[in-house]
């Protein structure tokens, strides 16, 4: 006689699955910590790599925002015969007539160097160029004077010089009022500029007025760089007409560039390096996953009697399987959680030490959780299958 009523095993609720999985971990804390550490290191590496590169990019983007992307520079290209071209002397006035441009200025390289004293040989230039600059230059570049003053209508006619930040450092000049030797005579330093990320060539220059450069330094009056700022939305249109405006005869001898593109390119270039480091993090994570799988296999071997007991208490194979899967997932999730926190801390510490805004994108945490779940599942499948396949009698007989 067989009963009609079918036997159906009861389902294990999610909270029971979690409890049973956690109980297995609680019984062996040292081993749990060590094998979760593997996952934690992998996740921390990846989160920190993503975080640090995001922080660095955020820093560049904020800098771009601050500096603006509406600055264009015009410089002479090459002639058709490959010789260095020249911008016409009236180029700056032509540029200023373009409608959307609200400020424009020019520099011209004078063929001389700058030295602390007349005792230093001429060959030693220190990489500093002497440039004639129009008085509007500081406005156009939105630069600031760190010490002293900028050139004005009076000083641009005098033997006065304003040093870029880098030029001042190289010359060892920290205050105004000292004299430097330029083009065979003394010039007085009247100002030192703050750094200019959009125009690093200005940082390395000694700037004098156009009139004095023409009079004392043998400057020909042809600008070598024209800086202009226009309305943000008109930048591309301005860029298109600039060559013909600057040099209507030979527009092909004019080069126009956008300095903010260089910063944007730096932001993009950082990601290539990031990918390499992410790969390293992934390898660490993989090793961590192998560690978890190893721990789980040993755990199943050691706990055969517990498995036998649970089978005798009515656990189905599926319930034994899910118990060990849950354990593996919890182990890996623990590692992931610790790793995310460590990664975020490392990012914050590094970013603050570099004066960057600490940024860890939320997708990094999302990716970390997804990675730990996948690793936990893969690492747990084989041990869980082994546990479930164990016959109750063999399991109970285990010593």
């Amino acid at each position: 006689m067989t009963r009609d009523q079918r036997l159906r095993p009861s389902r294990l609720g999610p909270s029971d699955v979690l409890r049973v999985g956690a109980a297995g971990l609680r019984a062996r804390p040292t081993r749990v910590i060590l094998s979760a550490l593997g996952i934690a290191i992998g996740i921390a590496t990846m989160v920190a790599v993503i975080g640090i590169s995001s922080s660095s990019r955020e820093q560049l983007l904020r800098q771009l925002d601050r500096l603006g992307t509406n600055l264009l520079t015009v410089s002479p290209g090459r002639t058709l015969f490959g010789e260095q071209a020249e911008l016409p002397a009236i180029a700056l006035d032509m540029v200023k007539r373009i409608g959307p441009i609200h400020t424009a200025s020019a520099t011209g390289t004078a063929d001389t160097g700058v030295r602390r004293t007349d005792r230093i040989p001429e060959a030693v230039t220190g990489g500093i160029s002497v440039q004639a600059a129009t008085t509007e230059l500081l406005t156009t570049l939105e630069g600031r004077v760190a010490k002293g003053t900028w050139l004005n209508a009076a000083t641009e006619r005098q033997a006065a010089v304003v040093l870029g930040s880098e030029a001042a450092t190289r010359l060892g000049i920290t205050r105004v009022g000292v004299r430097v030797w330029m083009g065979g005579r003394w010039f007085t330093v009247i100002g030192i500029l703050e750094p200019m990320p959009l125009a690093p060539e200005i940082e390395r220059s000694a700037l004098v007025g156009f009139p004095v450069a023409e009079k004392l330094l043998g400057f020909g009056g042809h600008p070598t760089t024209i800086y202009e700022r226009s309305r943000e939305e008109a930048v591309e249109a301005v860029r298109a007409v600039l060559p013909r405006t600057v040099n209507p005869e030979n527009p092909n001898e004019v080069e126009v560039s956008r300095p903010s593109d260089a910063l944007a390119a730096r932001a993009a270039a950082a990601s290539a390096f990031t990918n390499l480091l992410l790969g390293l993090g992934a390898v660490a994570l993989l090793v961590g996953g192998v560690g978890v799988a190893n721990t789980m296999v040993i755990s199943v071997l050691e706990r055969r009697r517990e498995i036998g007991l649970r089978r005798s208490l009515g656990a189905t194979r599926g319930q034994v399987r899910i118990q060990f899967l849950a354990e593996s997932l919890l182990l890996s999730a623990l590692g992931g959680l610790v790793g995310s926190v460590l990664g975020a801390l490392a990012t914050t510490a590094y970013a603050l030490s570099r004066d960057w805004p600490p940024v860890v994108p939320s997708w990094a945490f999302g990716g970390a959780s997804a990675a730990t779940l996948v690793i936990g599942t893969i690492a747990g499948i084989y041990p869980a299958m082994r546990a479930a396949r164990l016959s109750p009698t063999v399991a109970l007989a285990a010593q």
Binding site: M1, R310, L313, T316, T393
Partner: protein, 265 residues
């Protein structure tokens, strides 16, 4: 009771790999409310009988019915459900989870019955009360004596009120005093109606049970006593202590004698 017998074995054989005949045709019926001992020396096949009755393994031939279900017709899942609902196991080595309170160890026994956690703990407390450990709910296994640990295991086995309690050498790891303590608990459970089968090699425990099934070489060689009767008095010597031990020269020719030293066997 829906089925006439809690356990019904008919012509059960079990052959393990390598032509080891553990059971050679066993017929056994156990009605509800009995207390019986399945007794025999090691290698007699009594452990295999435990596996058959406990549905932990399937017979090579013959039929095994537990609580009316023919286990040959049940899938692994259904067998698990049957074990969870119908059977309670007590093992020689207690199998308690270390570092977990007595209450939670017992409650774990109801994990696979679908009872909500709170009710599991309530029932566990009631079961511990029944085995006389109501004052030890929060104790961990290492804080309990051997006899108390085995009583926790008994509580775990009976917390779900299974129709059949299977005890595999329940006093095998205990001294005689603790063994008597555990037998006392089993006697009380029997008195309140639980069907109990004790698998043992200890003839003294077997004699204590109102019904004895003697197993030798895979066959039942004797089956006497009325399982529904009352067990004997527990003497101080009852347990696995030295007074009554079966010597091991019983196998394999099948004609050996059981020699016992001391005891009442």
């Amino acid at each position: 009771m829906n089925a006439p017998y809690v356990v019904a074995l008919h012509a059960v054989t079990k052959v393990y790999a390598g032509q080891v005949h553990a059971l050679r045709g066993v017929d056994l019926t156990v009605a509800g409310g009995e207390l019986l001992a399945i007794v025999g020396p090691s290698g007699s096949g009594k452990s295999t009988m435990l596996h058959m009755i406990g549905t932990l393994d399937r017979p090579t031939s013959g039929t095994v019915r537990i609580d009316g279900y023919d286990i040959a017709e049940l899938s692994d899942r259904e067998l698990s459900a049957l074990r969870g609902r119908t059977l309670g196991f007590v093992f020689q080595q207690f199998h308690l989870a270390p570092g977990v309170s007595a209450l939670d160890n017992v409650a774990e026994g109801l994990l696979y019955t679908g009872i909500p956690r709170r009710e599991r703990r309530e029932r566990a407390a009631a079961a511990l009360e029944r085995v006389g450990l109501g004052h030890r709910l929060a104790h961990r296994p290492h804080q309990l004596s051997g006899g108390e640990q085995q009583r926790v295991a008994v509580a775990r086995a009976v917390a779900g009120d299974p129709p059949l309690l299977l005890a595999d050498e329940p006093t095998g790891n205990l001294d005689s005093g603790a063994g008597a303590e555990v037998l006392g608990v089993l006697r009380d459970l029997h008195a309140s109606g639980t069907t109990i089968a004790i698998i043992t090699h200890d003839v003294e425990i077997a004699d204590w049970c109102p019904r004895q099934v003697r197993v030798r070489d895979g066959r039942i060689v004797a089956d006497h006593g009325d399982g529904a009767g009352r067990p004997a008095e527990i003497t101080k010597g009852t347990g696995s202590g030295p007074p009554a031990e079966i010597t091991e020269e019983a196998r394999p020719d099948g004609r050996t004698e059981i020699t016992t030293k001391g005891g009442r066997a």
